[in-house]
Amino acid sequence: MAGTTTPATAGIDPAMGTTQPAPEAFVASVGFWGSVGRKLVRDPVAMTAAAIILVIVVVAILAPWITPMDPYRGSMLRRLKPIGDATYILGSDELGRDMLSRLMMGGRLSLFIGVTPVILAFIIGSGIGILAGYVGGWLNVVLMRTIDVFFAFPSVLLAIALSGALGAGVLNSIVSLTCVFVPQIARVAESVTTQIRSRDYVDAAKLSGASTFTILRVQVLGNVLGPIFVYSTSLISVSMILASGLSFLGLGVKPPEPEWGLMLNTLRTAIYVNPMVAALPGLAIFIVSISFNLFSDGLRSAMEVKS
């Protein structure tokens, strides 16, 4: 048992790299994202949620070609048909339009105005947060205190106020929702980055003479984007509900455009006549947002690295 376990390899000559070519087959590691994917596939809840989201997205994209009826054409004679009607599978709305077609078509706008603000906020918020977290010092103080101002208002109130100030419309509701989510994402990004910055491997990278930009790109980004991404996916459900809320209040999508929140609003009057049909858009919002939440939960647990 004498000696070390070190194989008797000759010392590498000063001009390293001139050693004999590296040996053949390297055992490939699955890689971090590979292992995340593997764990995610084994998580039945996350997979079910992903499947639901996928189906809804595909239906929304293909809606103009696959809706069974014209979602805009109503009939005063066939208003508020119940679910299970011979022509209208999911009933008809207060203007006699096919609910199924409108729900399919409405998914387009609902998903668009729900997901886009989160994507935009992810880009802007990560940028601000990572910068504040990595640079630290007074820049951190200035950026984060400014961000803190936004936290003084409840997000619903903030969204309504911004939308109201900007005026109704799809674009404005996206802008106002983006403004609601940027501070939240920036704060998460900042705290994750501050944590990563104190790791020894960032110091080691500094010691190797790398520039700040290189360190950010190679060492920091990969480690912070994951957690920020997970947090952002969990915001999609909130965003969808808020977007629908804005439409419900008349600050988002304008009729007769089908959108789940707006549909919920216009069907409000029918709640005593045909409550089941009136609840359908709400159910759609509920299913999509809970699916996004469950998927982001699964993603988070799959990304946990055991040490």
């Binding site: 070190t6 590498i12 590691s29 020894d200 690295v305």
Partner: protein, 346 residues
């Protein structure tokens, strides 16, 4: 292995590789809301030299400033005052810009897990440094693999692994390989083996000795474990509350310490002899806080030799014999300490 002259060598073998001169770092802290400002005197006037090819150990307890000293040397934090010279040139000066200094000095940290990027393969982590310095990716990866082999990790099995797929000992080998990837002359080992199991620690210590020979390295070895320091170091500096209290050849300092603190550290080590267990703890209480260090000799409140003069006078780091220097009034003739007067009489 014959020592081939390094082309980067400037001053010849007699010139110290690193000179630390009057190094000071105080961290400001705020006490409570609107409370008065205090400073942590983490490093408070440290001088030492690291000779070419030697291993200098720094020992001391938590809060003594040994890790801060390492970070100051590496430029990870800026020092308040003092000079750092690498092979005769001031670090960060025009003659030796930071980037050029860092290519010649590398560091291995205590926490093997935190010092590797969890999202990067082992070979990518090692190749990162050379890539930064303009070595093409393929060559950098090749170098990483040959270094992995050199630190005892079969490249075919380990190169593509991620840090969490390795044991603590294996990760620390990777960290050592990464430190060597830039062909440094000085390697700072900050508690590099402290977190390892004893049997693994022995393997890594042997590896460090082998690498030192093969690559003509100079080590600054920071540790709290006197046994390990005695084994691996040529010279040792003992730090207490931000200052060096004793420095000299490891065999001398750890066999016949001159400073009462060094003596206390030594006798605090468990004996490993069931028939001769420790009966009295050499020191009472915890190491004091470097926020408000005691006056005079900082060790005097815990010292068995303390006399009134010790709280009044700051002991200078004085020579005992040859390279062995100690900062203790009891060892300094003419200091006014009764033991010192006895020294003169004898």
């Amino acid at each position: 292995m014959t020592t081939v002259a390094d082309i980067r060598d400037r001053g010849g073998p007699a010139q110290p590789l690193l000179t630390v001169d009057g190094l000071i770092k105080h961290f400001p802290i705020k006490k409570g809301l609107g409370g008065k400002k205090a400073v942590v005197r983490a490093v408070d006037g440290v001088d030492f030299e690291i000779l070419k090819g030697e291993t200098l150990g720094i020992v001391g307890e938590s809060g003594c400033g040994k890790s801060t000293t390492a970070k100051l040397i590496m430029g990870l934090i800026a020092h308040d005052s003092g000079n750092l010279l690498f092979d005769g040139e001031t670090i960060g000066s025009r003659a030796l810009p930071m980037r050029q200094f860092r290519a010649q000095t590398q560091m291995v940290f205590q926490d093997s897990y935190s010092s590797l990027n969890p999202r990067m393969t082992v070979e990518a982590s090692i190749a990162f440094g050379p890539q930064v310095h303009g070595i093409p990716t393929r060559q950098a990866i090749e170098r990483a693999r040959s270094l992995l082999a050199r630190v005892g990790l079969e490249p075919t099995r380990f190169a593509a692994r991620y840090p969490h797929e390795l044991s603590g000992g294996q990760r620390q080998r990777v960290n050592i390989a990464r430190a060597l990837a830039l062909e440094p002359r000085l390697v700072v080992l900050d508690e590099a083996v402290s977190a390892l199991d004893k049997s693994v620690e022995a393997q890594v210590l042997n590896l460090l000795l082998d690498l030192k020979q093969d690559f003509n390295l100079t080590y600054l070895f920071i540790s709290h474990d006197l046994n390990v320091v005695r084994f691996i170091c040529d010279r040792v500096a003992v730090m207490y509350l931000g200052q060096v209290v004793e420095i000299g050849p490891a065999d001398t300092v750890l066999a016949s310490p001159s400073h009462p603190y060094t003596a206390a550290l030594l006798s605090s080590m468990p004996s490993l002899d069931p028939d001769n267990r420790t009966q009295v703890a050499p020191l009472a209480g915890d190491p004091p806080n470097p926020i408000d260090p005691p006056s005079g000799c900082r060790f005097h409140p815990r010292c068995t030799l303390a006399e009134p003069v010790c709280s009044a006078k700051v002991p200078p780091l004085d020579t005992v014999v040859d390279l062995h220097r100690v900062a203790c009034l009891a060892r300094q003739p003419g200091s006014g300490h009764s033991a010192a007067n006895a020294l003169v009489a004898a």
